[in-house]
């Protein structure tokens, strides 16, 4: 098969799997039907069953991957839409996000360092609390692996949502702003979706915290990596 045909098949196939899981997730709302989780698993299974190497799939996948950059640029849109909230609450949101992100990046580097895993794994888990497109790009620029970064982001997302009631109890957090900042800073889009189920305000704060933490982590990650590793 020519490269062009392989590429088109991979692109159309990825689109089809994505649209299927996207529709399914609308009907059955669960972390397990999230397109990033279920969609990736379906494609991995197809590649495994038909014995297709990842590099062959990426002949087409690379085209979709190329759009990661503009997709990150598009994140300015939700931030702009929430500009009034941003102006009002910039100090508490930014202070919370900066402190949380710094501790998140530092604890990731130190704990992983002590456990003795390979450096590329540490670089891949540094941006785990950040929304996937930014996380992949940060991991890549540090010397990590994009796909590992994506998987670690999913673990932080699902894990954070499940742990959040206990964490908020432990840290005595009951304010809607605190909860929104926590979910957005620690569990990115999945945390934001979870916050939206509580209230529109908590969800909006969470989405602002999510984008701000992506910016904050891309600043602090390289600094903390050079300081702590």
């Amino acid at each position: 098969m020519s490269n062009l045909l392989i590429g088109i098949t991979a692109i159309v196939g990825t689109l089809a799997v994505y649209l299927f899981t996207w529709k399914l997730h609308k009907k059955i709302v669960s972390p397990l039907t999230l397109p990033i989780f279920l969609g990736s698993i379906i494609i991995i299974m197809i590649l495994a069953v038909f014995d297709i190497p990842y590099d062959t799939y990426m002949v087409g996948g690379e085209w979709i991957n190329q759009l990661l950059g503009p997709a990150v640029v598009a994140l300015a849109y939700p931030l702009y839409m929430q500009r009034n909230l941003l102006k009002q609450l910039i100090v508490p949101i930014l202070c919370g996000t900066i402190t949380g992100s710094t501790i998140g990046v530092a604890s990731g580097i130190l704990l992983a360092g002590w456990s003795g895993v390979d450096d590329y794994i540490i670089y891949s888990l540094v941006p785990k609390s950040v929304t996937t497109p930014v996380s992949m790009i940060i991991a890549d620029s540090l010397g990590g692996v994009m796909s590992l970064a994506a998987v670690f982001v999913v673990i932080a997302g699902i894990g954070g949502v499940i742990m959040s009631p206990l964490v908020f109890k432990l840290f005595k957090v009951d304010h809607v702003i605190g909860r929104g900042v926590g979910m957005g800073s620690g569990s990115h889009a999945m945390g934001t979706a979870h916050s939206m189920e509580h209230s529109q305000l908590e969800g909006s704060i969470s989405s602002v915290a999510m984008v701000l933490s992506a910016i904050v982590v891309s600043f602090i990650a390289p600094i903390l990596v050079s300081l702590l590793m």
Binding site: Y54, L68, G96, G104, S129, S185
Partner: protein, 123 residues
């Protein structure tokens, strides 16, 4: 119905801003990714009304709503790293969960503390 030509134009604008961000990152040798520079540029252009929201809205909305699609191919790459979920790799999952709980708890606590102090001042 979404107008395809409009959406494509919007995506081209996003792509150009991304390329500008990337160029700035490389020229100034910044350590933050070019796409994040692009995001900040777009936010500034929108806030200062240099770019009108209507120039980019449909395409950008489509991008944000279907963000997941763009990182599925890279995520599938984990197929080459499946050994990570055995042995020491399981420790990595534990580390991510502990570190995530710290991020959520501490960022929430700090912002709650500041907002409560502000609320007290207003009373």
């Amino acid at each position: 119905m979404l107008r395809l030509d409009k959406v494509i134009l919007h995506i081209v604008i996003l792509y150009v801003i991304f390329l500008i961000g990337d160029w700035i990152q490389q020229t100034l040798n910044l350590f933050i990714p070019g796409s994040v520079v692009g995001m900040i540029i777009l936010l500034i252009l929108l806030l200062s009304n240099i770019i009108k929201l209507s120039w980019i809205e449909e395409g950008t909305k489509l991008f944000v709503n279907h963000l997941t699609l763009f990182f599925i191919p890279a995520t599938v790459g984990v197929i080459n790293y499946l050994e990570i979920f055995t042995g020491k790799g399981l420790l990595v999952i534990g580390i991510i969960l502990v570190s995530t709980a710290l991020v959520i708890g501490i960022s929430a606590k700090v912002s709650q503390w500041i907002i409560r102090k502000k609320e007290l001042q207003h009373e």
